[in-house]
């Protein structure tokens, strides 16, 4: 058991981030993001990395932007309000083609649209990964940094209070490895005076010609890149019992783990229920959803909001089977989206009611 | 009051009502009380498990305790006529 320990989700993710090569982190306290920040602050100095107590989320995302231009893997994050404040920059960082990991430790699941459609101005999208529990968060954190570096794009890890605050015995990711090599496009000042000094800009990286800088061409590039991402990033999904299911239930994140468990129990008691849990929320695993729905009579969507992912499920199935919403905003009086309705018996009941 | 003129009564100009259940046992009133006539319980605790203050003779009705108490535990009264109460051996002040 040498490398196993009881780690809080936040700590496990922080360790996974550093293990993946993250060398810069910054953020502003906000429950349930705070602990991730605190763990990064404790870990990064151990690998000569930098963690900044940013004075606000606006400053945090700006610092992360700056760090990302140097080619070192950088990350930031927040919760709800804080993420909203970062939207202006997230949109532009996407257009500047910078790798950045954003930990969105959300309160409930009301921020699905913001995460998957880009809450900022403009036409950007970025990858979104939604782990269901601590071990999966460790895996997806590593993947997030890999994808960010590979595609030069922001990648969001969408967690929540459960993920941040659940302790689980896991293999502890080792932070002793080296960080990935700094890529060629990164800035370090050295091309100054060469006649072709680099520029990193959300408005494109050309040099202004006589005709004025061609923003239109740059936006076309950005659009092409997003299409390449959509085509090239493998959609991840967790599917169970869909082959012979009468009803397929779709859910994501921590809440997806509750739904999975409910389906497991319902199967045990003989109900023909299957589940599909999108792991990449963007690109959305539309094909998998379509396939899972194909043999069933109905799809039910459980999400802890007024119905957001259900749009993606409907867009994937386009009327092939009826799609019913069985979720709803949490009754939670703390605002953290942790109950009391978020539990297996309540969810099972709604699933049974939706059975065709 | 100089040590050369020992007295065994004390003038009491005011008093307080203490809502012990509201108290969170922070001790701030103890230091705030100029005549130092408030003292925390040592064993007794309220329903939330906190110790709370009790009053010895000698309150002046100065309101310091009420003003500093973060939990609004005190109501302060000023006697229309000050009372003289026996001073207990170990002294309220």
């Amino acid at each position: 058991m040498s490398d196993r320990a009881l780690l809080e989700g936040s700590e496990a993710m922080a360790r996974a981030a550093v293990a993946a090569g993250c060398r810069f982190f910054t953020g502003y306290p906000m429950t349930p993001f705070t602990e991730l920040l605190e763990h990064m602050a404790a870990l990064l100095p151990q690998v000569d990395g930098v963690c900044m107590n940013a004075e606000s989320e606006l400053e945090a995302v700006g610092m992360a932007w700056g760090a990302a231009t140097t080619g070192h893997l950088a990350a930031t994050g927040s919760t709800g309000q804080g993420l909203s404040l970062m939207q202006e920059s997230l949109s532009e960082i996407t257009n500047a083609r910078l790798p950045l990991v954003v930990f969105n430790m959300a309160r409930g699941q009301g921020d699905y649209f913001q995460a998957t459609r880009g809450g900022g101005h403009g036409d950007y999208r970025h990858i979104v990964l939604a782990p269901m529990d601590v071990p999966e968060a460790v895996e997806l954190t590593r993947l997030a940094f890999d994808l960010a570096g590979q595609w030069r794009t922001p990648v969001m890890v969408l967690g929540d209070y459960f993920l941040a605050h659940t302790y689980q015995a896991v293999s502890v990711p080792s932070i002793d490895g080296a960080a990935p090599k700094v890529p060629d496009w990164a800035l370090n000042g050295s091309t100054g005076g060469s006649g072709a000094a680099k520029i990193i800009s959300p408005l494109g990286s050309g040099t202004e010609g006589e005709e004025g800088f061609d923003l239109g061409a740059h936006f076309a590039d950005c659009a092409a890149h997003i299409q390449a991402l959509e085509a090239g990033v493998e959609p991840l999904v967790d599917v169970g019992f869909c082959d012979d299911a009468e009803l397929v239930v779709a859910a994501y994140g921590s809440v997806g783990k509750f739904v999975r468990y409910a389906c497991l129990q319902l199967r045990d008691s003989g109900h023909r229920v299957g589940y599909i849990r999108p792991i990449t929320l963007w690109p959305f695993p539309s094909q998998a959803v379509q396939d899972a729905a194909a043999g069933s009579a109905k799809v039910a969507v459980y999400e802890q909001n007024m119905g957001q992912m259900i749009d993606d499920v409907r867009l994937a199935t386009l009327g092939a089977v009826p799609v019913e919403f069985i979720g709803g905003p949490s009754w939670d009086h703390s605002g953290f989206g942790i109950g009391p309705d978020i539990n297996v018996p309540d969810i099972s009941e709604r699933i049974l009611e939706a059975m065709p | 009051m100089s040590p050369s003129t020992p007295r065994n009564t004390v003038t009491v100009r005011g008093t307080v009502v203490i809502d012990v259940e509201a108290c969170k046992g922070c001790d701030l009133c103890i230091d705030a009380c100029p005549p130092r006539v408030l003292e925390m319980t040592t064993r007794e605790a309220n329903a939330k498990g906190y110790r709370y203050p009790r009053l010895l003779a000698g309150c002046t009705g100065c309101q310091a305790c009420a003003q500093i108490c973060p939990d609004f535990v005190f109501q302060v009264y000023k006697y229309d006529t000050p009372l003289e109460l026996p001073l207990d051996d170990e002294g309220g002040q």
């Binding site: 209070y161 605050h165 689980q168 015995a169 497991l264 539990n343 | 969170k24 939330k48 498990g49």
Partner: protein, 174 residues
Amino acid sequence: MLTGVGGQGVQLAAQVIAQGATADGKEVLVFGSYGGMMRGGHTDSTVVISDRPIEAPPVLSTTWSAILMHHQFWAPLRERIRDGGLVLVNTSVFEDELDRDRYQVVEVAATDVATDLGNPLLAAMVMAGVYGRRSGLVSLDGLVEGMRRSVPPYRSQLIEANEGALAAGWELAA
């Protein structure tokens, strides 16, 4: 499951038990929630201890054992304890009714014991000690080791007192 009022040490007690079980080699999951306030609000915690990988989500519908530190927020928990479950209750504080026929109730005047030890805030540690022994899930060594891992560095001056409280609970449960 553990329930209480913020500031009573419920989260720490859950940690101590869970870290203890991890030290003892078990699979463990803990989820503690509290109402957003630093102190005085609702606080509870769920600990899952198992020999196999854990499929269950972090909030359970039923439990076979519970520690009740305070009555204020215990109502939602009432229904979740299975019949015959082990229920430890802090009688120094707990004022609500308890269906003694349904559960296997263990009464511990934890706050009183803790006060005798010099600090009423040690009550949760006393309970953890009792729980370890009565449930058979964690050893006293495991608890002490778990407590050492759980106490944050800026609270390290409390380690000794906590250890005393765990031991006192363990003794009480004899």
